[in-house]
C-alpha cells in the first residue's frame, strides 16, 4: 500500500516537473533567434522575424507575418520603424502587448487566472494517471475478488420465452415488409 502511494506521488511529481521544465524552456524555435540588427536598412525579413512571434489581434489563430489585414500591415510598419530606431524584438513585443493586450501573444500570458490554461491539462493528466494506476493495481489483485459477472446472458424463464417470440415475430415481419 505504502509502495503504491509512493508511486502515485512520484507520478504526479514527475508530470509536474516535466511540465514546468517544458514550459520554462520557452518557445523552441524562432524566439531564440537573434534579434535583427538595426544597423543598415530594415528589410521585410527583419520585420517578419519579429512578426512571426506575434498574432493578429483581430483574427484568431493568424500569425502577424501571414496576416493581410490593413491593421496588421500597419503593425508591421510600426515594427519596421521601431527596428530602425534600434529597438529589440522583446521590447517591440512588450509595446504591442501594451497596445493590444495579451491577444497578440497567441498563448495565454503566464500570470494570474491564465496560469490555469497551462496547468489544468497537466493536472488532469496527472489525476487521470493516478486513477488509472489505482484501477490497474486494484485489478492486479488476486482474481477471486473479481466477481464473475455475465451480463450478456439472456434473462431466464418466462421472459426468455417472450424474447424469443419477439425475435421470431420480428424476423417474420421483416421478411415480409422490411
Amino acid at each position: 500500500m505504502i509502495k503504491s502511494r509512493t508511486n502515485q506521488i512520484a507520478i504526479v511529481l514527475l508530470v509536474f516537473l516535466a511540465a514546468f521544465v517544458w514550459l520554462g524552456a520557452g518557445p523552441i524555435s524562432a524566439q531564440d533567434a537573434p534579434t535583427a540588427e538595426p544597423a543598415g536598412e530594415v528589410t521585410l525579413n527583419d520585420v517578419n522575424e519579429v512578426a512571426r512571434d506575434l498574432w493578429c489581434p483581430l483574427c484568431s489563430g493568424v500569425r502577424l507575418d501571414a496576416c493581410e489585414l490593413k491593421a496588421c500591415d500597419q503593425m508591421k510598419d510600426v515594427i519596421a520603424i521601431k527596428l530602425a530606431e534600434g529597438e529589440d524584438a522583446a521590447s517591440i513585443k512588450d509595446y504591442f502587448i501594451e497596445q493590444y493586450g495579451p491577444q497578440v501573444l497567441g498563448e495565454p500570458p503566464r500570470e494570474g487566472f491564465n496560469w490555469l490554461a497551462w496547468i489544468l491539462p497537466f493536472v488532469a493528466l496527472a489525476l487521470g494517471g493516478v486513477f488509472l494506476w489505482r484501477q490497474t493495481a486494484r485489478m492486479m489483485q488476486p482474481a477471486e475478488e473479481m466477481s464473475a459477472a455475465d451480463p450478456g446472458s439472456p434473462p431466464p424463464g418466462a421472459e426468455k420465452q417472450a424474447e424469443d417470440d419477439y425475435a421470431r415475430k420480428l424476423d417474420e415481419e421483416l421478411a415480409k415488409y422490411g
Binding site: N48, S60, G61, G101, P102, L125, G128, T136, L174
Partner: protein, 667 residues
Amino acid sequence: MIFHIGYLILVTATVLAAFGMIAGFVGGRQRNVKLTLSSYHAVYAMAGLVALAAAILWYALLTDRFEVAYVWNHSERALPVFYKFSALWGGQAGSLLFWLLILSGFSVAAAFFNRRRHWAIMPYVNAVMLGTSLFFAVLLVFAANPFELASFVPQDGMGLNPLLQNYWMVLHPVMLYIGYVGLAVPFAFAVGALLSKRLDNQWVRTVRRWTLIPWMFLSAGILMGSQWAYMELGWGGYWAWDPVENASFLPWLTATAFLHSIVVQEQRGILKVWNAALIWMTYFLVILGTFTTRSGVLESVHSFARSDVGPFFLVFMVIILFGFLWLLFKRLPLLRDEQAIESYTSREAAFMANNWLFAGIAFATLWGTFFPMFSEILTGDRISVAAPFFNKVNGPLFLLLILLMGAAPLLGWRRTSRQAFRKQFTWPLLVGAVTGVAIWLLYDAGYPAIGLAACAFAAATIVQEYVRGVQARRITSGESVPAAMGNLWRRNGRRYGGYLVHLGIVLIAAAVIGNEFFQQNTNVTLANGESVTLGRYEIAYTGLEPNRKVNHVEYGARLMIFDQESGKTLGSILPRRNIYDKTPEQPTSEVGLRMTLIEDTYVVLNGWETGGSTATFTMYINPLTAWMWIGGLVLVLGTLIASWPHPGRRRSEAADSVAYAVGSAGD
C-alpha cells in the same frame, strides 16, 4: 411553389423523425413488433424525404433560382457548375441539410445491414439515429430554413465565398461530414446496448467497422482541410489550431481512443464503462463541434456561418450529456469487468496508456479551444490561444504517443517476458537511437532529433512485424514475398492493416517535425528578371501573367527554379492571386508549389506594381511536407485493409449473430 413544398417536406420529415424515434424507444422497450417495424420504416422514409429536400435545393442552385435566399447568398450565375453543386454545403442552412442527408444515409445503412441481427438493440439504434435526425430537422424548420424566399427576385446571386472555390474545399467538407456524422452510429449502438441491457461484447464487435469507416473519412477530411489551408491560406503551414480545426480534431482523438480500447474489451472483457463513455464523448464532441462552427460562439477564420441555431444546440447537448450519464449510472452494475489486468508490461496496459494520452490530448485541446471564452467571462481580458499554446502542451504528449505506438504492438496480452522484450525491442530501439544521434550530429537540433528518433523507432517496429510475418508465411507455405504480404493483409487484415495506419501516422508526424523545425523562409520584392537564393535554390521572377476566368481574373507571377550549385533548371511555378468579380476586396491566394519527397518550394504572391514590373513574394522551403499527404494515403489504405471483411471472419460473424439472435433456443 416548389420551394414551399421543399419546406413542407422538411416539416413532414420532422414529424416523421419524432414518430420513428418514439416508435423505436417504445417498440424496443415493450418488445412490440409493429412499433419496431415502424421505426425501420421511419428510417427509410426519412431518408427519402431528406433526399427529396436536398434535390430541390440542388435544383434551385443549379438553375439559378435567386428568389431562394440561400441561393442568392451562396451562388451566382457565373459560378462554375461544380461549385454551384457544392454550394449546397457552402452556407449555414444548406450545410445543415447536407448533415441531415448524410445522417439519413447512415441511418438507412445501419438499419438495413443489421435488420436481421441485434433484434434487441436495433429499435433503439433506429430511435437514436432518428432522434439526431429530429434535432437537425428541427433546426432546419425553425432556425435555418434553406428554402426561405427573398422578398424580391434578385437578378444575380452574391457569389460563393471565394475561399471555398477550391477543389479541396469541395471534397474536404464532404469527407469531414461523412466522418463526423458516421460516428453517430456507434453511439446509437452504445445507447441501444445500454437500454436493452445487451452489454456483452457483441455490440462492440459490431461497431468496430461502423467506427473505423467514419474514422477513415474523418482522418481524410482533416488532412484535406490541411491541404486546403496549405494551398489557399498562404502562410506556409497546414494546421493553425484554429477552433474549427480543433472541432474536427477532438472527435478524431476520442474516436481513435475508442477504436483502441474496444480491442481490449473484445479480447479481455474489460473497460466496458470506459468504452461506453468514450463513444458518448465522441458523439458529444461531434455535436459540440458542429455547434461551435455553426453558431460562431468562438471566433475563427472559418466562422463564415452564424445564425440563431445556438440555443437549440445547447438544449440538445444538455440532453446528450445528462441523458447518457443517467443511463450509464443506471447500468453500472451490469458493466463489471470480466477479467483482470495481470501486468503493467501487457498489451492491455499499453492500450490503457494509449487511452490516457488520447484523453489527455483531447482534454488539453478542448480546454485550450474554450479557454479564451472562460478568460473573457471571468477576467474581461481577451486573449488568444493559438499554435504556441497547443504545440507546447500537446507536443510532448504526441511524442509519448508515438513512442507508445512503437512499443505497444510488441507487448503480449497478459504479460511480456524478459526474453520476449529483448527479442522484440533490440532492433527498433537501435534504429531509433541511431536516427536520433545522426540528426543531432547533422543539424545540432535536440527536439527534432528526439521526435524523429521516436518516429524511426515506431516505424522500425512496424517493419520488424512485417518482416517476421512475411518470413513466417514463407517458411510455412513457401510463398513469394508479395504473395505472403497479400496473405497477411487478407488473413489478418486487422493487425497488419492497423500497422499500416500506424505507419501513416508516423509519416505524418515526421512531416510535422520537418516543417516545424526546419522551415526556411524569406520575403522579397523582385524586379522582372531578378532572382533570390533560398536554401538550395535560386528562384527568378520572369513576369506577371493575367488570365481571365469565368467569374474571376487570375494574376500569376511566373518563377523559374534553379539548382543553386549546378545552375540546372528544376522547374517553374506560378503563384497566383485570384480577384473575384463579386468580391474584389477579398482576393484569394493560390500558392506556387514545387513538391519533392525531400522538401517543398512554396511561394505566395503578396502583390505587384506597375503591371508586374516588380512583385513581392513570401517564399518558404518546407521540408518533408509531401510525407504528410503520402502518410494520409497510407492511413486510408491501412484502414481499408483493417476493415475489409475477411471471408473466414465474415462466416464466423454471421454464425455469431445467428446464435445471438436466436439466443440459446435449443436449451
